[in-house]
Symmetry: C2
Subunit: 359 residues, 2 copies
DNA sequence: CTGAAAGCGCTTACAG
DNA sequence: CTGAAAGCGCTTACAG
């Protein structure tokens, strides 16, 4: 067999002009195109000897089926959509990278679709997007994932989907569940281990499930050690830097002041740092601050934030694999790799947390 | 004409089961599908009366041509690729949003393709991506945009492309040129206006054109006021936070110390802030720090960074429009909107810059 | 296990 | 200005 590329069409006289089609392969292998189609689609109903001959021709010519033609015949494209409204760039990029990791070598491509859940045409837009592109499937990160109307729509139009969320909102085959609750508990234990008693929590917006889960885990772990947050110890932010500053201001003017603040995400924690600086407080000597997510901001800020690292990219990879595998693809082996621990959050201790001040 | 959606197929007995095809529209309008195709493709060779009749049927049934079928016949998809290796999440997300802005309503979709320019299979990968998906066109942000091999390849395989870069590297129709040079000059003038004399510059890596342009603009504006940077006043970073810390450490231990540092991007400027804090220096009293980009980090850091805002999203919008319009689409009107000033960088003064210390 | 026919939903020549 | 035929590169029934 000639080496690849030696007499591939690209190097011939008509260099790169035309790619081989299923008809070329069929002719060259002396079979019908239907049989070539069978080996492309891994049908078991092909004699080994025939399959090998066809595969050799395919390899020799560097043939790859046209996804557009295949899609037209299948009535379904080889496109996977990511429909999202998460405002954090790093989350978005990490999620995209993770999805791409899971899609690598599969022949699928990723189409990105930011959206606005508050728009009156939101659902119609999603529907148009999915139907017009005949999407193979879609991945929904929070908070789109938390919108049952979207899941209902997708079910109606028969589009495969994976919801990424911090609680099991749907059938297991449609879910990748994060462990925000566990992360909240890790934060609580860390703060408790440092000896803090006056502890406050800045939650994210109510509309995010993660917000409730992080809080729930935090409060549960506190309760395990006999500590209970008063309603006044819990204050609501918006997952933004500015809201972190505002909540910090509010909390730090109190008497007695909390000695530790757990913020629902890094941006708000960074805001608390800002607020503490304005108040002339020293972190971590006077105040411990713990964030959540471990995005870049956690390290760019001073002091660098102790935070809960969440494996966004890994979760994305699992979501894509689940979507693709769902249809009975190979690479079942990879399942082994899927160590659940890899999707668990973990505490990263940096310099914004320290022992409770001995008052 | 019945109102849209009233007796559209979705609401019929076979609710949502089947979308109208070109054949349905042709039959309903009493013409051949070729004529429907003509109105879809805005051919001038259709009698007005015929066109209106067809358009009415199209509107009534909410018909939209299948991009996959159209792509197969056209031998070209309605997909636009973004091929990039820029490591900054905010840049990537803003660029994606800008491209999407420019594509809105056009029927095109965005396929993202991060890549590694150092990979031995890099060019082959790009080629496979473009050819297999029969991409309508691709947008190349830096530093992929600066790779002439990519442009050459794209020309060879006849794929439309737009290079986004800080210098005119290609024919105008293939370029969106940023104004990094102007931004560098703005930084210089600001620092000069504050009375600084001992000024240092932290450049990005040599492999980024923006790095040279920002420096070039900075030095030129300095020269206009009779100031010249010594080679030792220029130090090279890597556009990363860590490199900013390292360069800051290096610069701040000198005697005499610079009173102002212009860093080639915000991340490095944030690093300098960190370094200054370690050295016990007060910003801006002892040291002025100016960044470039105006990404989120510029505001999260303390003190908030004076920096050069670059309109990444707007540039992305222009790139997408140029790619699509290039093929002779309508919306020429929009051209008017294209105020060149909107793509220019501009100085954002925050708290990291102040008058030169009176030593 | 393999193939000939028809079709997916469009467009490109080619006529008229 | 309009249309009938053939084709884009695949797959789905249906035979054998």
């Amino acid at each position: 067999m000639p080496s690849l590329g030696d007499n591939a069409p690209e190097s011939g006289l008509e260099g790169g002009r035309k790619r081989a089609t299923i008809n070329d392969i069929a002719r060259l292998a002396g079979v019908s195109k239907k049989t070539v189609s069978r080996v492309i689609n891994q049908s078991p109903f092909v004699r080994d000897e025939t399959r090998e001959r066809i595969e050799a021709v395919i390899a020799e010519w560097g043939y790859a089926p046209d996804p557009q033609a295949r899609g037209l015949a299948f009535r379904r494209s080889f496109l996977i959509g990511m429909i999202y409204d998460n405002p954090n760039p790093q989350y978005v990029v990490n999620m995209q990278l993770g999805l791409l990791d899971g899609m690598r070598g599969s022949g699928f491509e990723l189409v990105v679709h930011p959206c606005n859940r508050a728009s009156p045409t939101f659902l119609a837009d999603v529907r148009t997007f999915v139907e017009r592109q005949k999407l193979y499937g879609v991945v929904l990160p929070p908070s789109v994932s938390e919108d049952d109307r979207v899941a209902k729509l997708l079910n109606e139009i028969g589009c495969a989907y994976i919801r990424i969320a911090s609680v099991e909102l749907d059938k297991p085959e449609n879910m990748i569940v994060g462990h925000d609750r566990m992360g909240g508990a890790q934060a609580a234990r860390h703060i408790l281990d440092l000896g803090h008693k006056r502890i406050a929590f800045i939650s994210g917006p109510d509309s995010f499930r993660s917000s409730h889960e992080r809080r729930g885990g935090f409060e549960a772990a506190l309760a395990e050690r006999g500590l209970k947050l008063e309603p006044s110890d819990i204050i609501q932010g918006a997952y933004t830097f500015e809201s972190g500053v505002a909540c910090g201001d509010e909390l730090l003017k109190r008497t007695p002041r909390p000695t530790a603040i757990f913020a629902g995400n890094d941006e708000m924690a960074a805001g608390v740092l800002q607020s503490a600086r304005k108040a002339g407080l020293n972190v971590p000597a006077d105040l411990t601050v713990v964030g959540f997510d471990d995005f870049q901001i956690a390290q760019a800020v001073w002091p660098p934030l102790t935070t809960i690292h969440t494996p966004t990219r890994e979760i994305g990879r699992m979501a894509a694999e689940k979507l693709i595998d769902a249809e009975g693809r190979e690479r079942r082996e990879r399942r082994e790799e899927r160590d659940p621990a890899r999707t668990e959050p973990n505490l990263v201790v940096r310099e914004s947390s320290g022992p409770a001040p001995s008052v």
